[in-house]
Symmetry: C2
């Protein structure tokens, strides 16, 4: 199966990582892959644009089917390979509800993180305001406290949607990993720290760990004071 | 079934509308509902916050299960009532892939629309820049042309993910309706206009049409020049 799949990706991209974790969990190792450079703007190359008019990574193809949006690819792979590897959508309606809820809250989490760590990247120099960055940091702090609260009711016995690892973990874990890569204090956010420590040892996560982070294990300190 | 459901919503909210269309399509009419006022900040009331710590609408409850994020609620309802009403996730893998892909592209569409029509709402006065608004408008134009392209391959015989109405339509249609509510030209974007005209006659859409739009059929002209 995996031979008919191609993933174009870049290192240190949360959306790419979500798809890679899913591929590992569904035992789809051996897919074709190409690591592209974001800095060299290879996500805007003809190769990518032919499959993905948005010029974004991941770009993912299975046979003739193209599914580029990371959440879409995760849902698609789980649906196509339901009985292979880890079941990523739980059976019980309660866990399912929580999984969907946390997955989509995960998008707000991801955006609030990006609005702080990539503020200078997103906002041109002449349009930056200290007040905006301060507001973004406050929004991220509120968000972090929400997730601390969620996790405090779950850990150490449970994943984000219940006793089994699910698409909620697939989609939210990369955001949590980025938090710590950017210097978040596990003392101030102990539950997020515990969740991070637990998940980073998972084989699917280890197998898809961003190569840039292997090459340079030292992270950043942008979130040290958050 | 519907008697054990409660939806807290406000008029003229795309996320609320997605859930309401889904409830209609799944024949879940008769659910408890409460129309709240965004202007009076009722989304930050204790009633909402008790169910939704984000203080956002929709806030949705089914029995003891809370699913507030609109995409999450749509997925949850389809999963719980699979064989009731319209099947909103198609069977074929090709249509499913396209449905997921368009649903999640729909989030970018929604954000790009909001970044134009609600620019003054989102950005405090002292932080506004003509250059930013111009860039947001360009991004929206690019996005509109993408969807014109998608629809030109589908209409008049097909919905967003193929021959049957799906969650892609449920989640993206409200964005399209807002475009025209805010003055988009159906002459300049004929395929979006055709899609809008087709879908707005659908019973689930008519039954959930924003009451504010009924009361005041005259829209805005913010997108007239886009």
């Amino acid at each position: 199966m995996a031979e008919s799949m191609t993933l174009l990706w870049c290192s240190g991209s949360e959306p790419c990582w979500r798809v890679m974790i899913t591929l590992e969990e569904k035992n789809l190792q051996g897919y074709n892959q190409k690591l592209l450079s974001y800095e060299k703007k290879e996500h805007k190359s003809e190769e990518v644009l032919a499959l993905n008019p948005r010029g974004q990574l991941p770009t993912f193809k299975h046979g003739d089917t193209i599914v580029n949006e990371s959440y879409a690819a995760c849902f698609y792979l789980e649906s196509q390979f339901k009985s292979q590897g880890t079941t990523l959508i739980p059976e019980s309606s309660e866990e399912q509800a929580l999984m969907y809820q946390r997955m989509f809250e995960g998008l707000a989490f991801y955006e609030k993180l990006n609005a702080v760590i990539y503020y200078e990247y997103f906002v041109p120099e002449g349009e930056r305001h200290e007040s905006a960055l301060t507001r973004n940091k406050q929004a991220l702090t509120t968000e972090l406290n929400l997730w601390e609260g969620y996790l405090s009711k779950l850990l150490p016995n449970s994943y984000l949607a219940g006793p089994s690892f699910s698409l909620a973990d697939v989609t939210v874990f990369p955001t949590v990993a980025f938090l710590f890569r950017f210097g978040l204090s596990a003392e101030r956010y102990p539950k997020l720290g515990e969740y991070y420590a637990l998940l980073k040892e998972r084989p699917s996560v280890k197998a898809s760990w961003p190569p840039l982070w292997h090459d340079n294990p030292q992270g950043h300190d942008k979130l040290k004071e958050i």
